[in-house]
Symmetry: C2
Subunit: 193 residues, 2 copies
């Protein structure tokens, strides 16, 4: 890899951080150019559709990461309890224990929600459905599984909002602990929750 930025893919993580920090409207092309080290011409070479294509590519990239690292493992792991534990661990790492906001959630509340309504909806729907399916395999009734899946995802998103608002990552950590305690537990000879 002779260059820092060899392909379009290489700038996506930087773009994601910029959109996370400044939102869609707040991420100006001059700021993007400065942070990526690319001139406007290079950016338009990689993303002919401009800023909107950049954000769409970032969303697609995030979707793909969650698909590979969260959703598919939730579906494929034979042991549902292990699948749930793995999800929480991956989520904690991804959101850096609450110091990193969820770009999809931020876009859902922010200025560009209409522009990306469909990928935003699909991301959360997929998460909710795979989580509900895993909870069902872990022993919950279908209705309870759907309800807990929705509650868990809302709790995570709310924790990211609150952690950011209070500037206290502990909110996210405590939320993960509450979720761990509420998910169907392995049958073990230990104290009850």
């Amino acid at each position: 890899m002779p260059r820092v930025v060899a392909e379009r893919e290489d700038v996506l993580p930087t773009l994601a951080e910029i959109f996370r920090e400044h939102g869609f409207e707040g991420a100006s092309l001059s700021l993007i150019g400065r942070r990526t080290g690319l001139g406007k011409s290079s950016l338009y070479h990689f993303f002919p559709g401009g800023k909107e294509e950049m954000a769409a590519a970032v969303l697609k990239n995030i979707e793909a990461w969650f698909e590979a690292n969260i959703f598919l493992p939730l579906e494929k792991e034979a042991d549902p309890h292990r699948a749930l534990e793995n999800m929480l661990r991956a989520v904690e790492a991804y959101f850096q224990s609450g110091r990193r906001v969820c770009l999809v959630g931020a876009l859902a509340l922010g200025d560009a929600r209409d522009r990306f309504a469909e990928p935003i909806r699909a991301y959360f729907a997929r998460w909710r459905d795979t989580l509900a399916e895993a909870l069902q395999r872990a022993g919950l009734a279908r209705a309870d599984a759907k309800d807990l899946a929705e509650e868990a995802i809302a709790a995570l998103q709310g924790a990211l909002v609150l952690a950011r608002a209070l500037d206290d990552p502990g909110v996210f950590r405590r939320t993960l602990n509450r979720l761990k305690a509420r998910l169907p537990a392995r049958a073990r000879p230990m104290r009850s929750a």
Copy 2:
């Protein structure tokens, strides 16, 4: 009241809706002028500090509304169970059953979070603390009350994110029901939760 807009106070609700819909950066002065029916000069007459002063005034207005309609009732209502029920009812009405986003939460995730960090922090801290105090009066241990207060506020914020993302207000309604079931219940001869 001879005019539609007689005072600075009169435009605050409209400004709040604009910031809710477009975020801070997305709310341009031309858009604000169109929606409020005020020219730029009038806006700068009311808000010499420009857009930043408009958003600060809106935040202060929201703070005052919650202080009067949520926080003080939580503190003053003698019956803690009734206080909690009142809070949930007021919250449901304010957020229009999930169709209206929380501007404070949206700002916390969005572009202008650093600009308004202190009022955002104060709003959520005040809510968390008054709720925890009411829960303690309702019989919970101090640590449990603080934990449940944080969980409840995060759940509400997350529900607003998810309801918006999935375009399904049912998420918010179901979250309120879950919270109702989890708050300390009145002593009644009924089924357990």
